[in-house]
Amino acid sequence: MKEILSLEQVSYSYPTDDDEVVKAIDGVSLSVKDGEWIAIVGHNGSGKSTMAKLIIGLLFPQDGVVNVFNEQLTNENLWDIRSRLGIVFQNPDNQFVGSTVQDDVAFALENNGIPFEEMVKRVHESLKQVKMSEFLDHEPHHLSGGQKQRVAIAGALALRPNLLIMDEATSMLDPQGRDEVIRIVQELKQRTGLTVISITHDLEEALLADRIFVMNKGKILQTGTPDEVFKHGEQLESIGLDMPFALRVSELLRKNGLSLEGEHMTEEELVNELWTSHFKM
């Protein structure tokens, strides 16, 4: 499959007043292929948001190269590249620019000079994709957090991007809003083959990804499928991440002498293993 994004030995440190320099991103290399769902996990301050900012060109690396859509990100192609990727941030309120849902979805279209008739078409199309069509004229303060994030996703989709980045887009939502947003993105990915980079410190959410990048202190500690990554549970816990509930339970059960077969990533898998395990004995 085609490569859509790559970082080569990228380092970045924020300018500080004192001499002591801490690298927010420290020699990171990675590559993302077209159509993948990537989860980037790591505790607060591990450099996840900084990485997102390097990918959309809000920051430029001091060392190394960022390639997006096989082009090195520079000041010249910055706006062109931004028009082909979408990003959703953490706070639902602080990224809602328009006065109504449809105005907000149209914002990126207006900025890119899309003609009016085409805008109307795209606004409706994007809102349909996130199931917010009935909310066309709603004002932001009458929407829930999850609804606002869905509008933000629609706003990112309006330009028909190849890559969607979500920087902790679900972390300020209640469980219901969180599920709504995750489900929408999952469906989108299945239907359109969109490439998704989802930054999160929720490992349950990371389970949905094709590959997980684990970050710690500006470095990539580990890369792999969810199965591979969660095999090293202790390591994840040692850098302050909470293991998914099912994994924790199955590990504790094993420690207490219950023989369970295989790995259980989700609650369903675990429950199935538990109620069938008796028959095998």
């Binding site: 990224q95 914002f107 207006e110």
Partner: protein, 265 residues
């Protein structure tokens, strides 16, 4: 009290006036305000008052609601009326109450000034009551467009306006939250001396400002990554359409000004 105030409030509806393009409404009010100063006799002031009542009638906003909402201003109007009656001493003496003498000219002036004041307030209220703030912003942006040539940052001003309007409810909620949080900690802004109250407001304002700056920063980033680079080369999603209604209202305006011109003394 504040809930009843109708200054700057918008009442959605679908009357003729509601459906007008914001540009024609803005132009109308602008020229109306100037035309009011043409009036100087019974016929012209009568015409202005009748015309204003006609506009209120077709806006389908209840007169009672309107006057009730404008109470503070009505008090001011009555006050100016009384001042004129008491202090103008010209023309024939109408009423003589020993202490207060009412002269014909005083009464005339008082009534005229009151009508002038009243129609101005009513007309501008009708504008804001029937047009959403965002439409007013759009209309202003469009009308001021020619001034871009003189380096007036029309697009930026309009965007600032619309973002401010969009964030008012958000910041109100936040103020409320902070207020409650401080109340829970025993802060009290409703009692005590002025000095104590002012001091109690500070722990409310500081977190509000800190958060507003954080919001502004995040919003700026969100706008930038969605391709915002200023007004150059932008298209507009909210379209303004000039209809036959708007032409009709402009014709009415011209007729009104013409009539005032002919009737004035």
């Amino acid at each position: 009290m504040l809930e009843k105030m109708i200054f700057g409030r918008y009442i959605p509806g679908d009357s003729f006036i509601h459906k007008l393009d914001p540009r024609s409404k803005l132009l109308f009010v602008l020229f109306f305000v100037v035309a009011v100063f043409l009036a100087n006799n019974v016929a012209t002031y009568g015409l202005l008052l009748a015309f204003t009542l006609f506009v209120i009638f077709i806006s389908r906003i209840r007169l009672y609601f309107l006057l009730n909402g404008l109470k503070p201003i009505l008090i001011l109007i009555i006050f100016t009326f009384l001042m004129h009656i008491i202090f103008t001493k010209e023309g024939t003496l109408l009423v003589d109450l020993k202490i207060i003498k009412i002269y014909e000219e005083g009464l005339r002036q008082g009534i005229f000034i009151s009508i002038r004041f009243l129609v101005l307030v009513l007309m501008t209220s009708i504008l804001t009551l029937t047009t959403s703030p965002i439409s007013i912003t759009d209309g202003m942006e469009d009308l001021l467009n020619p001034f871009k040539r003189f380096k007036l940052p029309v697009h930026e001003l309009a965007l600032m306006m619309s973002i401010s309007l969009r964030f008012i409810p958000t910041l109100m909620d936040e103020t409320d939250k902070i207020l409650k949080a401080q109340l829970a900690r025993g802060s009290d802004i409703s009692t005590g001396s002025i000095k104590q109250r002012i001091r109690a407001v500070i722990p409310l304002l500081v977190p509000l400002f800190v958060s507003a700056f954080k919001r502004a920063e995040e919003l700026a980033i969100a706008m930038e990554v969605r391709g915002y680079r200023g007004g150059e080369g932008r298209t507009r999603y909210r379209q303004l359409t000039w209809g036959s209604r708007d032409t009709i209202s402009m014709v009415l305006l011209v007729m009104l000004i013409g009539a005032l011109y002919l009737l004035k003394g």
